[in-house]
Symmetry: C2
């Protein structure tokens, strides 16, 4: 008598491993953002990307990666397309099937564009700083906490630096690090590789060991009426949640140094705007400020009236704020580039000390923000 236990288990495992078996003679390498074992999309030596999808029943398929590419039906029901060379760094992309922007089943998924999306990471000549190396590694911790303001459970990702668990007498400074619009708290851990960037900077002595808190930039108070004229961030009470709930939660949960000289905030795009909105009205709580591809929303060019006149007295401001950092990619959309560059000019005209960085050749994307984090983190808590 033979007991053939787990026949269906066998089927599942075979199914899983079948995806690992497809070896090809093709040039290039599978993207690091693929599901492990998937051969496509492949990044060719000249940074063109070849996509391949099995879809014998499809009428037409497209890949939307910076621009739309029509796929061509191959033999055996495979659809393929090779793109133009793609700029280095991480890009969201879509598979368009039946006219709907969807996810490529070959790709891992990332929260961006207001939904889960496919992503592809094109190698950069300077990418060592966000690769895993044989150095001490920190951890990213998922922390559930209840927010009374939003009347909801929320999740923060918290990077603790190497040695945090062993050096139990050591307290650490904290960087609050925000994602952009259409993204969420998974952005910096996944797309941004914040943990690897910090691990490597700390190992080389370029950054101080620090805690990094990556929370969700969306927050609404269900009891509060939203003024319909409040503008594009109307109803978003994240600044309030951060100052009144998240910072106290972090200070009581982790071994922080809970004062302004050891607290920084930075964010990208929408998160950069939130950073300025939060820090400039709470300078008793923050001494370091970073806006990556997004900073203050200066109306009428009148810097000195912003945020209750925080920039009216440049000397006082420069004395108070240890580092203010503003960055932009040179290939961002013109209005974004002009906006941040103009803000930089206004700061300079007003005598406000700040570090300004332009990321060469990158757009409103994660490669600009990885580079910005690398720089900004190295300036903190010295």
């Amino acid at each position: 008598m033979q007991h053939r236990i787990f026949i269906l288990l066998l089927t599942l495992v075979t199914f899983a491993s079948a995806t690992l078996g497809a070896q090809t003679e093709e040039a290039g390498v599978p993207a690091s953002t693929n599901i492990p074992g998937r051969e496509y999309p492949r990044i060719l030596p000249d940074k063109r990307v070849k996509f391949r999808i099995h879809a014998p029943e499809a009428e037409s398929l497209q890949i939307d990666l910076m621009k739309k590419y029509d796929m061509q039906q191959d033999t055996g029901g495979y659809w393929t397309v090779t793109t133009e060379p793609v700029v280095e760094g991480f890009h969201y992309y879509s598979l368009i099937a039946d006219g709907i922007p969807l996810m490529d089943p070959n790709s891992q998924t990332f929260y961006g564009m207001g939904r889960m999306a496919s992503g592809i990471d094109i190698p950069d000549t300077d990418m060592d700083y966000y690769q895993p190396h044989h150095v001490p590694h920190g951890q990213i911790r998922s922390v559930n906490y209840h927010s009374d303001i939003t009347q909801a459970w929320r999740r923060a990702y918290v990077y603790t630096p190497p040695g945090y668990d062993n050096n139990t007498d050591t307290r650490y400074p904290v960087l609050y690090l925000q994602h952009g619009g259409g993204e969420d708290e998974t952005g910096w851990p996944n797309q941004g590789k914040a943990d690897l960037i910090l691990d490597n900077l700390i190992a080389s002595g370029e950054a101080e060991p620090m805690i990094v808190v990556m929370d969700r930039g969306y927050a609404t108070d269900p009891d509060r009426e939203v003024d319909p004229n409040a503008g594009f961030m109307g109803g978003n009470v994240f600044s309030e949640v951060l100052v009144e709930e998240i910072i106290p939660m972090v200070d009581s949960t982790f071994r922080t140094i809970p004062d302004r000289e050891h607290r920084a905030m930075a964010g990208l795009s929408m998160g950069g705007f939130q950073t300025f909105q939060t820090t400039m009205t709470n300078l008793d709580k923050f001494a370091y400020v970073g806006g990556f591809s997004g900073a203050a929303f200066v109306r009428d060019g009148n810097l000195t009236e912003m945020y209750d006149g925080v920039w009216a007295d440049a000397d006082a401001f420069n004395d108070r704020v240890k580092v203010m950092y503003v960055s932009i990619g040179t290939d961002e959309p013109e209005r974004m580039y002009q906006g941040v560059n103009a803000f930089h000019g206004m700061l300079e005209d007003a005598g406000i000390d700040h570090v300004y960085y332009e990321s060469p050749g990158t757009g409103h994307e994660w490669q600009t923000w990885r580079r910005s984090l690398r720089q900004f983190a190295s300036l903190l808590f010295e």
Copy 2:
């Protein structure tokens, strides 16, 4: 002069918040597994599920949730379908567009079926044990480590119980908890809600505070030839990686009690097989064993010859192993149910102490495994 900084930022934020605005008068509630703010899929009071996708250009669309349902085109380019009542618990599902099983853009994504997949969680009458409550919460930590055997960087998720950071003199027992075939180390944290189950069990005193390690059940040694006759787990060296690399890494990184009386292993489906394969040949390292919808792969019904005869001397085995736990859902595919049930019968015939549990009304899915973890965790380290 007016500086309209961040026009495109505005566009992004508007795009993100547009998804939050769609209020409907429809019955039911948005699934908890939806992208926040998405109204569909909606779970109706009788557990039918209504899906809705905007796809004005589509020719035909289907939802594949346990079975395939044709969607119908509504006015304004919306496609909808309402399923039959769906059994409680978490299910993977697909949106079929252009004939390809893809992900519903309304859903969060989960690694299952060997790729990222959509998921829907149908409320259960008994679901309090995996909901967040006002009790102390543990953390799930993402730990990067290098594996010399596989010559690769790997990631473990490690649950640390409430109080871990404060009780720095306390050491904890460890449960190694594995996912199934086609899933990965994200399964237990995301689909399984392992952290919430443990938080609630620990808060009520039903389980001892413990560390839970959730690693990736796939591991290959690039230098090793795989015997083509080695069977369905041929070439998978996970047991070796666990015993030689993961356990030492965990014992040196966390405050564990590093002996067999304080070490358990359990897994579901393929992970249950791996659990028995690992623990039965390493009883000097494990005292607690759990197989959820998957356990030993008994050839020829000859229990006593398995694993170097570990079950030949029932008294010795019963003395050595504190808890052996075997479970199955009553609605699993017949051969799976029969396989595990037969294994249970063989253990009984051989006088091998074990706990056997049948999850009523659930299949080869996460609801069976959440219930199993709840039971198994409460039996550990007493």
